[in-house]
């Protein structure tokens, strides 16, 4: 039990080494990858139950005490996130078995799964670690790997998108490292808990250093998690990648950076210091601009995956709005939206990927009457899209309710009206797709209800994700209880 978090992190790393050595047969590769993801998921479930029973758990590497060595800290929220990431990744990976056969060449399959495994390794490491330089190292692995799963599709648009992503994301990581240097100057520690103790003692002596540190770190993480004016890499990168990669990048990878930002704001600096340095105003303004402009940019898009990518920019604005309030209820709302957006966006990207898989069409104008040809796919798409708009019964509605309550209790009614405006804009760009796919006739053939021309490995993950979107929409307490359990560790 004690070693469980390390094993969960090391399994994907080990798999990344083993996969190239496997015989070049598809069923062996796919079987191995899905068994390994199953093992990771079950281990993370065990560790989650363990944390719920015994409380916060610290793992120290090699018995060096925390201020010298590297420490893993597992609180209920992190354990839940690890379980969630593993579960969602398992579904996306099962989906990818069929989808990559259309998007990649056969000799690339094994290298694709090596990259997916390294992606999992770095993300789980970033979630668990309590050491700030360790976070940086995992972050660099993540940024190289997430660029590589875009450029693996050998097309010129992919090379260009991943080059721009790589440049901006290296600027981001260097900015973060500079910020860490300023933090290290003040504290002389790398462990997050020791840092926060030192900072709370001396912060009045070094306000300039701390402002520079949080400024650099915030800008760096904002580039990586596509906060509004720094989102320019995201639409190209997320829309040109293979569909499973888009789902990974948009629903999981971006969220991991946000979790790191939550750790740094709430655990390293603490709410009072951030509030007195007036960082929260900056976050709130950028978040609300992102909410509005992400949606406005999405309205003009013609390509379905680009539309979804711009919609991510808007939704990330909601998450930052919750985080920037600096109240427990606001943080809870932001974290809840991390979960609900991850589920809805992966459902949207997977169903868009299925449309591209079976018809080859990416343009919105070509989608007339497609709801009759691919009913399950489009029902998935519609439920997730309605969730993004905020129809009751779907998880997106609950996150908007929580966010609205947090805004009202913190006396910010202007932002509430911005949320309503943004939901309205969401409706403007999602409703035409639903209308044209279910209510319009295709030019060539008459509408008649058919079965989806998709393999089962693509349909089942979509159905599971849709059902969980609905379950979380109807029973939000499933996630909210755990978040409330974890909140004391962040304040």
């Amino acid at each position: 039990m004690k070693q469980l978090p390390v094993i969960i992190v090391l399994v994907p790393l080990l798999c990344a080494i083993i996969i190239p050595l496997l015989p070049k047969k598809n069923f062996i590769l796919f079987g191995f990858v899905s068994i390994m993801f199953g093992i990771m998921l079950s281990l993370s479930i065990v560790s989650y139950i363990d944390v719920l029973n015994t409380g916060v758990f610290r793992y120290v590497f090699g018995n060096y005490q925390a201020s010298i060595g590297i420490e893993f800290l597992i609180d209920p929220l992190i354990a839940l996130l690890v379980m969630f990431v593993n579960g969602l990744a398992l579904l996306i990976v099962v989906y990818s078995f069929s989808d990559i056969q259309h998007e990649l060449k056969p000799h690339q399959y094994s290298s694709y799964y090596v990259l997916i495994m390294l992606l999992m390794f770095s993300m789980l490491g970033m979630l668990y670690t309590n050491d700030i330089f360790n976070t940086y190292v995992f972050m660099e692995i993540l940024s190289i790997v997430s660029t590589a799963i875009i450029s693996i599709k050998h097309k010129r648009a992919n090379y260009l998108a991943s080059f721009r992503y790589l440049m901006l994301s290296s600027i981001g990581s260097l900015t973060i490292l500079m910020g860490l240097a300023f933090l290290y100057m003040v504290t002389g520690q790398l462990n997050m808990d020791s840092m926060s103790i030192v900072i709370s003692n001396v912060w009045t002596l070094y306000p300039t250093n701390l402002v520079l540190a949080i400024g650099f770190i915030l800008i760096g993480l904002a580039i990586k998690s596509a906060m509004f004016p720094l989102h320019i890499w995201l639409p190209d990168a997320h829309s040109s990648a293979p569909s499973p990669s888009s789902a990974f990048l948009s629903s999981i990878v971006v969220k991991i950076y946000i979790v790191v930002l939550i750790k740094i704001i709430y655990r390293v600096f603490g709410v009072e210091i951030i509030a007195s340095l007036r960082i929260d105003d900056f976050i709130l303004v950028m978040a609300s601009l992102g909410m509005i402009f992400g949606s406005i940019f999405a309205i003009g898009q013609k390509d379905i995956k680009r539309l979804l990518a711009y919609s991510s920019v808007a939704q990330i604005g909601y998450i930052f709005l919750g985080i920037g309030l600096l109240t427990p209820i606001g943080l809870a709302a932001g974290i809840f939206h991390i979960f609900s957006h991850a589920l809805m966006k992966s459902a949207l990207f997977l169903s868009a990927g299925s449309i591209i898989y079976s018809t080859g069409k990416r343009k919105l104008v070509d989608l007339d009457g497609i709801g009759f040809k691919m009913p399950i796919t489009l029902i998935t798409f519609s439920i997730a899209a309605l969730g993004m708009i905020g129809i009751p019964g779907i998880s997106g509605f609950m996150s908007k309710i929580y966010l609205g309550l947090a805004l009202i209790s913190d006396q910010h009614p202007i932002f509430l009206s911005l949320i309503l405006l943004s939901s309205f804009l969401n409706a403007i760009y999602y409703m035409p797709i639903l209308i044209s796919s279910f209510l319009k006739e295709d030019i060539l053939v008459k509408n008649s209800l058919q079965k989806d021309p998709l393999p089962l490995t693509m349909i089942i993950p979509m159905i599971i994700i849709t059902v969980s979107v609905l379950i979380i929409g109807l029973y939000p307490q499933l996630i909210m209880d755990v978040i409330e359990l974890a909140l004391p560790f962040y304040f």
């Binding site: 330089f133 660099e140 010129r156 648009a157 080059f163 790589l166 440049m167 600027i171 240097a181 790398l190």
Partner: protein, 122 residues
């Protein structure tokens, strides 16, 4: 003010290099120059990090038992920057390999021209 700045010329140098690097990445259209800009930024961060650990008249941190009261330089930032250098090398290698592929596909190193060809395709 000026005295403190003159005492910490390496901090000034690091910030100047950081800005030069950022300017190079953001304004140059040539993809190779962008990578060079990233490298300059990396160097600036490394310089800054290592100079944090500097102690005036400090020695290399090799502990001698017979001379216990010698001041040593803080070795931790240098150790961290070794990791940072490895990361920087891998990012440079990966972006150079991407540049080779970009040159094969587009026949140019100018990012604006690449974006134009992409738009023409659509």
């Amino acid at each position: 003010m000026i005295e403190t700045l003159l005492k910490h010329t390496n901090y000034l140098g690091a910030i100047a290099l950081f800005i030069i690097g950022l300017y190079t990445v953001l304004t140059h259209n040539n993809v190779l120059k962008k990578v060079i800009g990233i490298n300059i930024m990396e160097t600036s961060v490394f310089l800054f990090f290592v100079s944090i650990g500097m102690v005036q008249f400090g020695r290399a941190p090799i502990i001698k038992i017979d001379q216990p009261d010698i001041t040593y330089v803080n070795p931790l930032p240098s150790a961290l920057i070794l990791t940072g250098i490895v990361v920087a090398v891998s990012i440079t290698a990966y972006s150079l390999s991407l540049i080779i592929q970009l040159y094969r596909e587009y026949g140019t190193l100018d990012l604006d021209k690449m974006l134009e060809t992409k738009e023409e395709q659509e």
